[in-house]
C-alpha cells in the first residue's frame, strides 16, 4: 500500500460569475499551475486565464490544404494519366470538375484531422489516469457546480495560503485531493484477454456481414433485377427485336463519324490495283500488326500464316499465306480480303479499323519475307 500524495486543493462555486472572478484573482495572485472545471464552456474564461490561442487551427489548415492538393493530384492522375477518357468533350485535365471533389476532401480531411489531433495530441487520449478522476469534486463540477483546483507543484504553493486564498474568493467545500502514485503510473496493457475477445468478435461480425452482403444479398430479388433485364446475350438471339438482332442497322446512306465507306465492295482486282498502302513498315506499325494478327488472324491462319489453325478441324483450314499467289498480290488485294472477306472468311472490317488493317498487311509481308529469306537477308 503506497502512501497518498497531495495533488491539489480544490474549491467549489455555485455560479459562473464567481468562478470567473476566482480565476481573475488566481491570475492576480500569480498562480500558474491551477485549472478550472466547469460543466460547459464558459464565455470569457480563456481571456481571464490568459490562455494562448489554440494551435488546433494550424492542423486543420495544413491537413485541409494537403487534402485539397491530394484530391487535385489524384483526379489529375486518374483522368489525365492513368485512364484518359474524354468526357463531354472536355479536356482531360478539366479543373472545374475537380473543384467539388477538392472541396469535399478538404473538409473531410481537415475535420477528421482536427478531431484526431484534439483527442490524441491535445487530450493525450490513451492516458486516462488523472488524480482528479473519480473524486467527489469531479462529480460535482461535471454536473452543476464550478470548481477551481490549485496544484501543489505550484511555486507559490503553501497549504495555508492556498486555503486562505480559496476562502477569500468565497469557495465552498475546500478539499485537498490526494492520489496514489502506483495507481497514476499504472500502465494498462493493450492486449488484455477481454480486448482480444472483443477484437475477435468484431472481426467475425464484420467479415460475416461482408460475406453475406457480397455473396448472398446481392443475389436476392431487388438486387438481381439488374441481371434479369432484357438484354442481348452472346451466342443467342435478341428478345427485344423481332428479327433477333440486338441493335438496329444504321439508316441507309448514313456514314459513321470518322469512317469512310469502302468503295471496292466485291471488286478484289480493282482494289488491288487502286489501293495504296499508306503505312511504312516501321517498328510501331509492325508491332501493331503483330498484335492484331495474333488476335484476329492467327486462330485460322496460324501464328506464322502457314494455314495450320488451332481449330483442330472444327473449321476448314485456310490456304497458306506464303503461296506464290498471295506473295505476288499487291498490298491492296490483301487489304481487300481483310475488309471484304473471301470464300468462307468473313469481313473483318468491324474488328480492325483501316490503319490496323494496313498494319496487318505490313506484318503479313514481313512473315512472307521471313519464310522466303534469301542468303543476303542474313547479312
Amino acid at each position: 500500500m503506497s502512501e497518498k500524495i497531495l495533488y491539489s486543493y480544490t474549491g467549489i462555486f455555485n455560479s459562473p460569475d464567481e468562478i470567473i472572478h476566482a480565476a481573475e484573482k488566481a491570475v492576480e495572485k500569480g498562480y500558474k499551475k491551477y485549472d478550472v472545471h466547469t460543466p460547459y464552456p464558459l464565455h470569457g474564461m480563456n481571456s481571464v486565464m490568459n490562455l494562448p490561442p489554440s494551435k488546433l487551427g494550424y492542423i486543420a489548415l495544413i491537413v485541409g490544404l494537403s487534402g485539397a492538393l491530394a484530391a487535385l493530384l489524384t483526379m489529375f492522375w486518374i483522368s489525365a494519366i492513368d485512364y484518359p477518357i474524354v468526357i463531354g468533350g472536355k479536356p482531360l485535365f478539366s479543373f472545374p470538375a475537380y473543384v467539388p471533389i477538392m472541396f469535399e476532401v478538404t473538409v473531410l480531411s481537415a475535420s477528421i484531422a482536427t478531431v484526431l489531433a484534439m483527442l490524441f495530441f491535445f487530450f493525450k487520449l490513451p492516458n486516462n489516469a488523472h488524480p482528479l478522476n473519480g473524486t467527489e469534486y469531479m462529480q460535482k463540477v461535471a454536473s452543476d457546480k464550478y470548481g477551481i483546483s490549485i496544484q501543489c507543484d505550484e511555486k507559490l504553493f503553501e497549504e495555508k495560503s492556498v486555503i486562505e486564498f480559496l476562502k477569500s474568493v468565497h469557495a465552498k467545500d475546500i478539499t485537498p485531493i490526494y492520489y496514489d502514485n502506483e495507481e497514476i503510473n499504472y500502465k494498462h496493457k493493450i492486449f488484455e484477454p477481454k480486448f482480444i475477445l472483443f477484437l475477435v468478435i468484431a472481426g467475425l461480425i464484420s467479415s460475416s456481414v461482408t460475406y453475406f452482403t457480397l455473396n448472398k444479398l446481392m443475389f436476392m430479388p431487388p438486387f438481381t433485377w439488374m441481371m434479369d433485364q432484357s438484354r442481348l446475350d452472346v451466342q443467342s438471339s435478341s428478345v427485344i427485336f423481332s428479327d433477333g438482332y440486338g441493335m438496329r442497322n444504321p439508316v441507309e446512306g448514313s456514314i459513321a463519324r470518322g469512317s469512310l465507306p469502302y468503295q471496292f465492295q466485291g471488286q478484289p482486282e480493282l482494289a488491288g490495283e487502286k489501293l495504296i498502302n499508306p503505312l511504312p513498315s516501321t517498328k510501331n506499325v509492325l508491332e501493331l500488326g503483330l498484335k492484331k494478327f495474333d488476335i484476329y488472324c492467327s486462330p485460322c491462319h496460324g501464328f506464322y500464316g502457314e494455314g495450320n489453325s488451332r481449330l483442330q478441324g472444327h473449321f476448314p483450314n485456310p490456304p497458306s499465306l506464303h503461296s506464290d499467289k498471295v506473295r505476288n498480290w499487291p498490298d491492296g488485294r490483301i487489304f481487300h480480303v481483310i475488309t471484304d472477306g473471301q470464300n468462307i472468311m468473313s469481313s473483318h472490317a468491324s474488328q480492325l479499323n483501316v490503319d490496323e488493317r494496313w498494319a496487318v498487311v505490313n506484318y503479313v509481308r514481313v512473315l512472307q519475307r521471313a519464310f522466303n529469306a534469301k542468303e543476303s537477308d542474313l547479312q
Binding site: H43, G44, P53, G57, L61, G88, G89, K90, P96, A97, V99, P100
Partner: protein, 395 residues
C-alpha cells in the same frame, strides 16, 4: 418605471469635414453623369444600372440584417443595429437613381423594343414577363414594399428610444417575419429584372441567389466599416468589443464563402452541360480583355477576402477589419460591373471618366446619405431592451 436600466448616451456630432468631402464627390460625380448622359447616354445608362443595383443591395440587404436580428432575437448586433437601419434608409434615394434610367430604358434593355421582340421567337415567349408595363409595375411595387417595411420598422425602433416600450420590439419582430420572405422574392426578381434581362436570351435560376449573396456581403461590409469606425471614435455606447468585431468578421467570412459557392455552382452547371444557349454568357466574359476582369473577380471577390478573414486575429483587429470590409464593398461594385458591362461591350471592357464619375457618386452618396439619414438621430438604439445584453455580449 420605463426600464430597469438606464444607458448613458450622449449624441455627438459627426465630423463635418467628411460630409463636405462626400458632398464634393457627389457634386463632381453628378456633373460627370450629366455630361455622360449628354455625350454617351447608352453607356451611362449601363453604369446607372450598376449604381442602382449597388444601392438596392446596400439598402435592402441592410434592412434584411435588421429583420434577421429581430426574428432571431439576436443581442450581439443590437449596439450597432441603428447603423443598419440608417443604411436601409437608402431606399429613399432609389427613385432618384431610377429617374435618369427611365428615360433611357430602351438603350439598355433591347427586349423593350416591340419590333425586336416580334422578330425573336425566344423573346416572344418571354414577353408575358418581360414587357414594359409589367416591368414598371414590378420595379415600383418593389421599391414601395421596401419603403413601407423600412418606414415602419425604423419608426418603431426610433420610438423605442424615447418610450423604452418593449412591445415595439414585438411589433418589429412581426414586421420582420413578414419582410424576410418578401425580401427573398423581391431581391431575386430585382436581379432578374435589372441584371439578367440585360441579356434576355440567357437564363440562370440561381442568379437571384448570386445577387442576394453579394448584396448581404455588401451590406455587412458597409455596416462593419461604419460600426468599427464610429466605435473607434467613441460614438457608440461603451464601445463594441473584440467579440462583436469577431462576429461581424465571421459573418463576412461566411458570406464570402457563400458567394463563392453560389458563383461556382452557377458556373459549374453551365460549364458541364455546355449548352450554347447558356455558355455564351460566360464566353462574353472570357473573350477579349474581359478575361482579366473575370480572373480578377475570383481573386478580388473570393481569394483575397478569404485569406484576409481566415485567421482569428484578423477578425478581431479593427484596422484589418476596416480594410477588408472596404475591400469587400469595392468588390461588390466590381462584381456588378462584371455582371452588367459585358452586355454593352463585348471583347473589350471600358473604363474612363464616365465610370469614374459613377464611382464618385457612389462614394459621395454613401457619405452624404449616411449623414443626412443619421441627422439628429441617436446612433444607438438606446431604448432597446436587448441593448444591455448586446453590450455585455461575449463569445
Amino acid at each position: 418605471m420605463s426600464s430597469l436600466y438606464q444607458i448613458e448616451y450622449e449624441r455627438k456630432e459627426l465630423p463635418k469635414k467628411y460630409f463636405q468631402i462626400g458632398l464634393l464627390f457627389l457634386c463632381l460625380g453628378i456633373i460627370g453623369i450629366a455630361a455622360g448622359y449628354f455625350f454617351d447616354s447608352h453607356r451611362t445608362a449601363f453604369n446607372n444600372i450598376i449604381l442602382l443595383t449597388f444601392f438596392i443591395s446596400i439598402s435592402v440587404a441592410s434592412l434584411f440584417l435588421v429583420a434577421i436580428e429581430y426574428v432571431a432575437g439576436a443581442v450581439w448586433s443590437t449596439p450597432f443595429r441603428r447603423i443598419s437601419e440608417f443604411y436601409s434608409g437608402f431606399v429613399l434615394f432609389l427613385p432618384v437613381l431610377l429617374i435618369p434610367l427611365l428615360f433611357n430604358l430602351g438603350n439598355v434593355f433591347h427586349w423593350m423594343h416591340p419590333e425586336v421582340v416580334e422578330a425573336d421567337k425566344i423573346l416572344k415567349g418571354k414577353a408575358p414577363y418581360l414587357n414594359v408595363d409589367f416591368f414598371m409595375i414590378r420595379v415600383s411595387a418593389f421599391i414601395l414594399l421596401w419603403f413601407v417595411f423600412y418606414f415602419f420598422i425604423y419608426k418603431n425602433s426610433k420610438k423605442q428610444d424615447v418610450t423604452h416600450d418593449q412591445y415595439l420590439t414585438t411589433k418589429n419582430i412581426r414586421l420582420s417575419a413578414v419582410f424576410i420572405p418578401i425580401f427573398a422574392i423581391t431581391i431575386s426578381f430585382t436581379s432578374f429584372d435589372w441584371l439578367m434581362s440585360l441579356e434576355p436570351h440567357w437564363f440562370s435560376t440561381i442568379f437571384g441567389v448570386y445577387y442576394f449573396s453579394g448584396s448581404i456581403l455588401a451590406a455587412l461590409a458597409i455596416v462593419t466599416f461604419t460600426a468599427v469606425w464610429l466605435n473607434e471614435n467613441g460614438y457608440l455606447v461603451n464601445g463594441l468589443k473584440k467579440d462583436h468585431y469577431y462576429s461581424l468578421g465571421a459573418l463576412m467570412f461566411a458570406f464570402t464563402n457563400f458567394w463563392a459557392y453560389i458563383a461556382f455552382s452557377q458556373f459549374l452547371l453551365i460549364w458541364y452541360a455546355n449548352l450554347p444557349e447558356e455558355t455564351f454568357w460566360f464566353l462574353d466574359r472570357w473573350e477579349g480583355n474581359w478575361i482579366f476582369i473575370t480572373i480578377g473577380l475570383m481573386f478580388i471577390r473570393f481569394i483575397i477576402p478569404y485569406f484576409g478573414l481566415l485567421s482569428q486575429p484578423s477578425k478581431m483587429d479593427p484596422k484589418r477589419l476596416k480594410v477588408i470590409s472596404l475591400w469587400i464593398l469595392i468588390a461588390h461594385f466590381y462584381d456588378l460591373y462584371w455582371l452588367a458591362m459585358p452586355n454593352l461591350n463585348k471583347k473589350e471592357f471600358l473604363f474612363s471618366w464616365i465610370e469614374i464619375s459613377f464611382i464618385l457618386v457612389t462614394i459621395g452618396l454613401l457619405i452624404v446619405g449616411f449623414f443626412k439619414l443619421s441627422g439628429k438621430n441617436n446612433l444607438v438604439a438606446i431604448g432597446d431592451p436587448k441593448l444591455k445584453r448586446g453590450i455585455d455580449f461575449r463569445l
